[in-house]
C-alpha cells in the first residue's frame, strides 16, 4: 500500500511500510496473536450489535463505536502489565473490552441497567473498571489528559514515596486528535514533562474530530509529534491499523517509560470506519476515502496473515466467529435481564462515600462483587 491521498488531503494514514505489517509480533507465540484476533473480532462484533441495539432504542444518549480502531486498544494494552492504569475518552467500549471487562457489564451499562459496570449511571461514554484498572471513559474532550497525568503521578508516588521502592507502573492515556486542541491537554503534557511522570499519551489519530478533519482543526496536522517535542517529551508515529505493528512499537516504548519513569507521546494513525456517533451521515468525507481505508481493516489483515501462515484455518475461524457472536448475544440477553435501576434505591446512592441526609453512601457494582477477592485496592 502507499500513502493515502484523498480529496481533502488527509494523508495522515501511511501504509507505505507494508514490510512492517507483514511480520507478526516479534518474540511472541502465535497463540498470542490469535488471541488478539479474537479480541479485535469481539470488539467489532460487540460494536456492530451496539449499533443495532441503538437503532432498536435499547441504548440511549451519545454512543460512539470503535469500529476500525480495534488494533489500537488491543495492541497497546497488550504491551501493559495488568496493574498499569488506563484512561480514555468517550469512544471507550474497545478499551473496556481490551482491558478485560466482560462484555455483559459493558452492554448492560449502555442499556442503563443496574448490572452495568457503573450501575447504569455512566452510559456509553463512561466505562470504569476497578479490577482491570480502567479509570474511565470520559465525556469531555481532553478531560482525561490531566487525569492520566494524575494516575501516573499517583502510581509513582505510591511506588516511591509510600512504598519506598522504584516507580513500577506505566499509565496509558488515550485521546482523540480533537483533544490536541484543548488547553487541558497542553497543561497535562507540560506537567508530565516537568514532573517526569510515567504516562504515555496515545493520540488515536483517526483524522477527524466529528466533521472537522485534522487539517482544519490543528496546526502541524501532518506532524503532531512536534507538539510533544515542544514539551520535551519523546514521541513516535505508529501505524495503528496493524495490531502486531502496534504491539511491536509499543512494547519497547512501555518498557522505556517504565524504566525511565518519564512520559511519551504516540501519534497512532488510525481510522474510524463508521460515523462519529450514531447520528452522522459522514458528509464531510468522500466515500472513496473510506473505501481506501477499509482495505486496511486491521482485523482482515491479521486474519489473512494467520490464515496464510496456517496458524488458523477457515473452520477454526468460523468457529471462533460463531463463539464470539454467541458471547455478544449473551451479553445482550444478560443486559436485557438485568433490572433497571430503582430510583428509590439508586438515585441517591454513590453520590458521597459518607451516608448523610438523603444520600445512602456507596457500594461496588455487581461486576466487582462477582469477581470476589479481586476488588482492586487503592494504590
Amino acid at each position: 500500500m502507499s500513502v493515502v491521498q484523498t480529496s481533502i488531503g488527509t494523508d495522515h494514514l501511511d501504509f507505505s511500510q507494508p514490510e512492517k505489517g507483514a511480520s507478526l509480533a516479534s518474540g511472541l507465540p502465535v497463540s498470542v496473536t490469535l488471541q488478539w484476533l479474537r479480541d479485535m473480532m469481539l470488539i467489532r462484533e460487540f460494536e456492530v450489535r451496539t449499533m443495532q441495539a441503538y437503532q432498536d432504542r435499547k441504548i440511549g444518549g451519545f454512543c460512539h463505536v470503535y469500529i476500525g480502531q480495534e488494533a489500537v486498544a488491543v495492541g497497546t494494552i497488550a504491551a501493559l502489565r495488568k496493574e498499569d492504569p488506563v484512561v480514555t475518552a468517550y469512544r471507550d467500549h474497545g478499551h473496556a473490552l481490551a482491558r478485560g471487562m466482560d462484555p455483559k457489564y459493558c452492554m448492560a451499562e449502555m442499556y442503563g441497567r443496574v448490572g452495568g459496570c457503573a450501575k447504569g449511571k455512566g452510559g456509553s461514554m463512561h466505562m470504569f473498571d476497578r479490577i482491570n484498572h480502567l479509570y474511565g471513559g470520559h465525556g469531555i474532550v481532553g478531560a482525561q489528559t490531566p487525569l492520566g497525568a494524575g494516575l501516573a503521578f499517583g502510581t509513582k508516588y505510591y511506588d516511591t514515596v509510600i512504598n519506598g521502592g522504584r516507580s513500577e507502573r506505566v499509565t496509558l492515556c488515550f485521546l482523540g486528535d480533537g483533544a490536541l486542541n484543548q488547553g487541558a491537554f497542553h497543561e497535562a503534557l507540560n506537567l508530565s514533562g516537568l514532573l517526569d511522570l510515567p504516562v504515555i499519551y496515545i493520540v488515536e489519530n483517526n483524522g477527524y474530530s466529528m466533521g472537522t478533519s485534522i487539517n482544519r482543526g490543528t496546526t502541524m496536522a501532518h506532524a503532531i509529534c512536534e507538539k510533544a517535542r515542544g514539551y520535551g517529551i519523546r514521541s513516535c508515529e505508529i501505524d495503528g491499523m496493524d495490531v502486531c505493528n502496534v504491539y511491536d512499537a509499543m512494547k519497547p516504548l512501555v518498557d522505556e517509560v517504565r524504566e525511565t519513569s518519564t512520559p511519551a507521546f504516540v501519534d497512532m494513525r488510525t481510522y474510524r470506519f463508521k460515523g462519529h456517533s450514531m447520528s452522522d451521515p459522514r458528509k464531510y468525507r468522500p466515500r472513496e476515502e473510506e473505501e481506501v481505508y477499509e482495505t486496511g481493516d486491521p482485523i482482515g489483515k491479521l486474519r489473512d496473515q494467520l490464515l496464510g501462515r496456517g496458524a488458523i484455518d477457515d473452520d477454526a475461524l468460523k468457529a471462533m466467529a460463531k463463539e464470539i457472536r454467541g458471547e455478544v448475544r449473551d451479553s445482550m440477553k444478560w443486559a436485557e435481564a438485568s433490572p433497571a435501576p430503582d430510583p428509590a434505591v439508586d438515585l441517591y446512592h454513590d453520590v458521597f462515600v459518607e451516608p448523610m441526609g438523603p444520600y445512602t453512601g456507596t457500594s461496588y457494582p455487581q461486576m466487582i462483587q462477582e469477581c470476589e477477592g479481586t476488588q482492586g485496592q487503592d494504590g
Binding site: K119, F128, G148, L151, V351, V353
Partner: protein, 327 residues
Amino acid sequence: MTRTIEFRDALNEAMSEEMRRDKRVFLLGEEVAEYDGAYKVSRGMLKEFGPDRIVDTPISESGFSGMAIGAAMLGLRPIVEFMSWSFSLVAADPILNNAPKMLYMSGGQFGCPIVIRGNDGAGGQLGSTHSWCVEGLYSNVPGLKMAIPAFPADAKGLLKTAIRDDDPVFFLESERLLAYKDEVPEEEYLIPFGRALVRREGTDCTLVSFGRPVHFCLEAAEELAKEGISCEVIDGRTIRPLDLDTIVESVRKTNYCVVVDQSWSFGSPGSEIAAQVHAACFDDLDNAVGRVHSADVPTPYATELEHEYLPNARRICEAVRATTYNA
C-alpha cells in the same frame, strides 16, 4: 490548653499534622513549596516534607487540579491549593465535572478524596476578576462538601476533617482573615462537618452566616445590642452539609431571621437557606427571612465602593431593623 495563633498557621498545622499521620496526603499548587506559599500558609512545609510531597506546579489550574483528581482516584489524598478560588474558574471542568461526580459516574468504583482550598471572596481591592465568592457557584453542585471557616480554631479542625474525608471537599478561606489571631487548642481535635455554632446568643433575631461575614454579623450584633435588639449569631461553618437544625432551633426562639451571605443573591447559599428556613419555620416566623448579600454588580475596586458592595455591619443592622419592624 490553648494558644493564640494566626488563621494561616492554623491551616498550616492542620495540613502538617495530617501529612505526618498519613503518607497519602500531599500538597500541590502554585508557589506552595519554594516560595513558602503565596500567602505563607504552607511556610516551612517544604523543609519538613520535601519536594515529593510539597509540589510546586506551574500556573496550570486545569492541569494540576485534574492531575490531583487522577491521583485521588488511585487512592491518594491530595490537597490542592488555589492561590485564589477566583482562579478555579479555568479549572471548572476537572473540579466540577470530575471530582464531585466520579463516584457516581463509576457506579461506586472510584471516589475522589481530595481537598481543594484557597482564598475566597472580596475585600482586598482586587477588582472583579480576583474577588469571586465561589460558594455561590459551587454550592449548587451535588457530590462535593463545602467548608468555610471564620475563626482559626475552626479552620484547623475543619481542615483536618476535610483531609480525612473520603469525599471531595471545597475549603474556602479568606485572605482578609489569614492574619487573624485567635485561640486554638493545643491538643489534637477535629470538627465534624454539618455542625453550626452559635457564636453569640440572643433573643430577638437570628443572624445566619458563614466565613468572613460572620465577623460582620458579630460587629452588627454589638451595634444592635446598644439599640436593645439582641441578635443570635450562627456560624454555619459548612455550607454542604448544611446544619439546618441549629438554625431552626434558633429561629423558633427569636421568630426572626436574617441570612448574611457574601455571594450574589440570585441562586445563592443565602437564598437556599432562606427557602429552607421559610419551609421549616413557616409558623414560627413573624416576618419573611431578611437577606444581606454582596451587591448585584461586579466587584468594584475603589475602597468606598467595595465596602458598600460587601455585606458590611451597617447593611446587616439595617436588614435586622427592617426585618424585626424596628426600622
